[in-house]
Amino acid sequence: MKASRGERIFYRVNDILLFLVGLSCLFPILHILSLSVSGQKAIASGKVGIWPVDLNLESYSLLLKGTPVVNGFKNSVIITVVGVALSMIMTILAAYPLSKEYMYGRKLFTKIVVFTMLFGGGLIPSYLVIQSMGLVNSYNALWLPGLISTYNMLVMKTFFQNIPHELEEAARIDGCSEWRLIVQIYLPLSMPCIATLSLFYGVSYWNAFKNVLIYINDTKKYNLSVLIQQMIKSQTLLDPNYIQVEDIEQMTSEGVSSAGIMVMVIPMMIVYPFLQKYFVKGVMLGSVKG
């Protein structure tokens, strides 16, 4: 199909516009990156664009030594790894039975589950439940209430339903038990979906903010999100034993909080390219009506 002159112009303009959209997505990230490695004076004068001025790593060394960022990083990793494992197990435990047409009460259970997407008790009643279970100030308060994302679970269920029935029937004739069926047939075939959902759960646990703010009181248990938010909003987390008073005044907090933002962004940027091909598929699966 040969493009007419009007169409060629259309394609050209379209490409340029999308290029600008892409740039506008990259710009803030590059800007923060260069802020985090620029000199304090250059930052204060607003000269830093997407290119570092007066290149140095002082902000990172201040961040490492003057704030509990290493501990926060460790906490974020723990929250994420344990959270993803628990959530994936529960999501599969929910999705598999609901994907089976021979399950008794399947429609009713599906309704019970889907209704929670439309209506909920809200923050305070949830807090009272968690509090009465004695979970406040423990990571269980982050993991347990969010074990299953109903949306993710429905994606998983649809994926199970689309696995050809012939496989299951053949395995059953060979005397395969339900458990072996799941472990040896369904799970291996569902790896793309499991990878996608793990990424989604991983991102939400890594970015956990509100729940940490609400349920965790001990500052030693804070994750990166809350630590960095407090750095951005104030400088109270800077350790006065390490940083001299004149340093605090001289130091623009921006360099340090930019470095903090980068500490949160960089791990995500590292895994992102590997998982990108999966999540595009995963979202498309979700668009299949369950």
Binding site: F10, A44, Y102, G121, L123, I124, P125, W179
Partner: protein
């Protein structure tokens, strides 16, 4: 399966026996399913349905000593307080304003992006743009909020660096109500629009390419092709996404507001979720903040049901 059906046809007298056998088999198959499903059911009951029951404290004067069941009933008093207080009415109005603006400006952007991406001829370019525009979705509001604060900061922000060059003095973007709202809506679009386009891109792949070729031969320009082929092709997806969006109308994200908000703009920036957090959790006024949360959930439920039944009338409903 098919072998047994065959048997049944051959020997009708054993039908009954077969049926009970079948039932037994089904029960046997259901046992592992229910073993799996019990923890799931417990999860939903404890962490989803129990809090719904806890909503009754919206009709009570909750105090810690008496607990949820023991606290005295007060009827609709908490709701009366909410809808008569100037401050709380203002908060409800802010919530509606921000989310309606979010839909008006934010909803079309992913659709436009998807259509634009669909018109790219070079695969490598399309893939690169997609990779980049999906990325902000994975950043938390702490990160995006930090970026916004840094970029628009009055003292050292890059934007004000340029504003100062032209205007002579910096502009307090985050401290003026109008510009704060624009930044709020804009940052939401920046973060979510690219990823939001995936759903529409998925829908676009199902459009028959020969339609475009036929239209091209008939002399239809690009705009006509988009209007008459592309848009009708993704109409159903657009409607579904719109229903889902209206259901979330009351949920102006807590994280986003909490990150961007400051005392100067709280007149437009204070929303239901931040109110519930501040008054409920920090101020320990559980009953009135639960009433506010209840109102939020209820409006969401009504809106999503209403827009779904509206969509059903056009055979595009979600359920």
């Amino acid at each position: 399966m098919s072998i047994r059906q065959h048997d049944m046809r051959l020997a009708p007298e054993t039908n009954k026996q077969n049926l009970s056998l079948k039932r037994k088999r089904r029960i046997r198959q259901n046992i592992p399913l229910f073993i799996m499903f019990i923890p799931v059911l417990l999860y939903y009951l404890i962490f989803k349905y129990l809090p719904m029951g806890g909503l009754i404290i919206a009709f009570k004067d909750y105090n810690f000593a008496d607990g949820i069941m023991g606290s005295p009933w007060v009827g609709m008093q908490n709701f009366k307080l909410l809808f008569r207080g100037t401050n709380t009415v203002n908060i409800i109005r802010n919530t509606f304003r921000l989310s309606i603006l979010n839909i008006v400006f934010g909803f079309p952007v992913p659709i436009i992006l998807a259509i634009m991406l669909n018109e790219v001829r070079k695969t490598w370019f399309k893939k690169s743009v997609q990779t980049i525009i999906y990325l902000p979705h994975f950043f938390s509001w702490v990160i995006v909020g930090g970026m916004v604060i840094s970029i628009f900061s009055q003292e050292s922000g890059i934007v004000n660096h340029f504003v100062e060059m032209f205007r002579g003095e910096p502009y307090p973007f985050l401290y003026k109500e109008g510009s704060w709202i624009s930044i709020f809506i804009g940052s939401g679009i920046w973060k979510g629009a690219g990823f939001g386009a995936i759903v529409y891109l998925a829908a676009l792949t199902s459009i028959d390419m020969s339609l475009y070729e036929a239209a091209h031969i008939d002399g239809a320009g690009k705009w006509q092709q988009i209007r008459h082929i592309t848009l009708p092709g993704i109409k159903q997806t657009i409607v579904i996404m719109f229903i889902l969006q209206t259901g979330n109308i009351m949920e102006v994200g807590f994280d986003q507001v909490y990150m961007l908000q400051n005392n100067v703009v709280s007149g437009v920036a204070d929303v239901i979720s931040t109110y519930v957090y501040r008054v409920g959790l920090q101020g320990a006024q559980f009953s009135i903040s639960t009433a506010m949360g209840f109102f939020e959930s209820l409006v969401g439920l009504v809106l999503v049901s209403a827009s779904n039944s509206l969509a059903n009338r056009f055979d595009e409903g979600l359920w």
